[in-house]
Amino acid sequence: MTTATAAPPQTERKTYLNSAHGVKSWLLTSDHKRIAVLYMISVLVFFILGGLFAVLIRLELATPAGDLVESNTYNKFFTMHGVLMVFFVLIPAVPATLGNFMIPMMVGAKDLAFPKINLLSWYIYVVAGLFVLTSLMMGGVDTGWTFYTPFSTSYSNGYVIVTGLGIFISGFSSILTGLNFIVTIHRMRAPGLTWFRLPLFVWANYATSLVQILGTPVVAVTLFLVVLERGLHIGFFDPAYGGDPVLFQHMFWFYSHPAVYIMILPPMGAVTEIVSTFSSKKPFGYTFIAFSSVAIAVFGFIVWGHHLFVASQSIYAGMVFSILSYIVGIPSAIKVFNWTGTMYKASVRLETPMLYALGFIGLFTVGGLTGLFLASTGMNVHLTDTYFVVAHFHYVMVGGAIMGTTGGMFYWWPKMFGRMYNQAWSKAGAILIFFGFNFTFFPQFILGYMGMPRRYHAYPPEWALLNSLSSAGATVLGLGYAIAIGCLLVSLLKPVTETADNPWGATTLEWKTQSPPTTENFEVTPVVTEEAYTYSSEEVVHVG
């Protein structure tokens, strides 16, 4: 496919990992691959921390009475869980890690357009994280990750200002990543790499970047106004001065709904790559998948009002937002059908990444379909702010986004580190995660329809059974993640040249160089003459 060839195998190959040594060589690097690794480590730390809060939440909810911790503490648990998982895990989960690593390679570039800005974005992320951790140390915050006014501005007894500033700052990290991607994809593609020869992962990240640069500033300024209102008692949203708390909700969800697409689009891209590779087949409906990514990003911006159906926005606005929400569902449906179609008459290999991808398709389908419940105004009035919503977005965010991210990690792991993980264990992890996830969150749909509200510390006893089932499922889920993460980390102990450059027989550009790649990615800038997915039999290598 390309003129670039892998360097001849040597005993100690030169890679981006051993090109320089020492802490300084990492902290001052401008290599997108090293920055991706830095991001990976920090995202993992926040994921474990956020997961810890999830464990505490499920422990508390295992019994109806609020007997494990006080309600104030519980409120801080779910707030920290939400803040960490949304802003510090899901948003950067794929773009800043896998995207950062793969996008330049997939477009045949030596680096992102602005390497120093890329490093800066990681530092901003770390500083933002430190703000949130500081607020956690000081005693946490109890507003929920949504920071609704006037609770957050006047009534909360948590550290809203520190947390708000943390999220404000983290926004810039996200913006800079998105900006870097767009410029790179527009201006750094290798010769011959037309838009429709790009891997679909690139399309997905491009669409994501659009959302990042257009939406993030709005939430940044909104949270900044909250900080000002709380700190200086200047009323922007305060009803006491004639302000409108619903305006805050509009401004907040203008970003925070599209943010859902920041979280789900890149994993969708990863799943597309995985399904294609392990079917040895070009994705069915390439152009439809590509354009559906952009359509999701664009339409995703005009549906936020479905979070406000009972918030006293106008009935007319409610109906407009409802119908638009259904429109944005269509591109997602197209993707699901196209993934399924790709497997038709294919040559399917059920390796670990493929298991994750298939799990993703199933769970995302459920998540997407339950979204249809919530987009229906009359149905939403009953379901909003209940566990149905909690279950829905966990199906999309955990069953979808995290599942896709983990799949992507297992898929590109040999590319990034040149090591292969244990097959049996990693498959066991994938299966445990799938079943544990369903045990945890499916009961919550039923609880939601029964009327169990979100963010409840204690609940009526008739819901005890479903809740304890959910808590039990969470244990399995946690075990699954522990195995998955363990598998990857243990593989790092193996010698580096253990695996082939392209163990999966993938066809996209990033696999055309050695694994792990050199600092420059490509010895010679590749010249692309074919579409991204052109499979031929000699490239398939069996995994031991």
Binding site: M188, G215, V221, L225, H233, I234, F236, G242, L247, M251
Partner: protein, 223 residues
């Protein structure tokens, strides 16, 4: 291969100078788009509340000084011109003129900020800063005027913050320009900063009518 100017080299991951400059321009414009959305949140709040409380906004707007506002707008437009000229002479590679016009831009920006500080002080003295001591003397619907001033300070404050950041960057650019870092072949920082400075000017072009000109038929120029 890119030109081997003494101070300028194409960074390793770019193919040539043109691609590098192109990337910078696209990146800068994308950044400005995020800035549009950043200010957009405040503009939204402004439009909503003005729609609801037109009387309060009109009378509170009358508390601003139109003459000073128009004067400051003029100052800012002048600084935009000098910035455009700085870029112009950068294109021609005239080092001394680059430095001269960058310094003029900095001075005019400083003048703008000085006037702004005076206005803030004036508001402070008259208890027109939202908060515990806030009052809007002689205003119609005073209960809702606090929102106007909250937005006034929010919007002009954010704008002034951008000006201050701009001034710091200007200092750096002047220092670099004096060293002769910018030539006709490479002056990307000057050009990119120009875009930023003009953008800040555009924001003010909208802030001026929205904050100072709501209803001057009663108050006129004097205050």
């Amino acid at each position: 291969m890119a030109s081997q100017a003494p101070v300028f080299q194409v960074r390793h991951h770019f193919e040539n100078a043109e691609q590098q400059k192109d990337a910078s321009t696209v990146g800068m414009w994308l950044f400005l788009v995020t800035e549009i959305m950043f200010f957009g949140g405040l503009f939204l709040a402004y439009f909503v509340y003005r729609q609801w409380y037109p009387e309060a906004f009109a009378s509170a707007s009358g508390k601003t000084n139109l003459l000073i506002g128009a004067f400051n707008t003029t100052v800012l437009i002048c600084s935009s011109l000098t910035m455009a000229l700085a870029v112009h002479y950068a294109q021609l590679g005239k080092k001394n003129l680059i430095v001269l016009f960058l310094i003029l831009t900095l001075l005019l920006g400083g003048a703008f900020l000085g006037v702004k500080a005076y206005e803030y002080h004036d508001k402070w003295v008259h208890h027109e800063v939202p908060g515990a001591n806030f009052e809007c003397e002689g205003c119609v619907d005073p209960g809702h005027t606090s929102l106007f001033f909250a937005l006034y300070f929010g919007m002009t404050g954010l704008h002034a913050t951008h000006m201050i950041v701009g001034a710091v960057i200007l200092l750096y650019l002047i220092w670099q320009a004096k060293k002769g870092a910018y030539t006709a072949k490479w002056f990307t920082p000057v050009e990119m900063f120009g875009l930023y400075w003009h953008f800040v000017d555009i924001v003010w072009i909208f802030l001026f009518p929205l904050l100072y000109l709501i209803d001057r038929t009663k108050t006129g120029f004097g205050i």
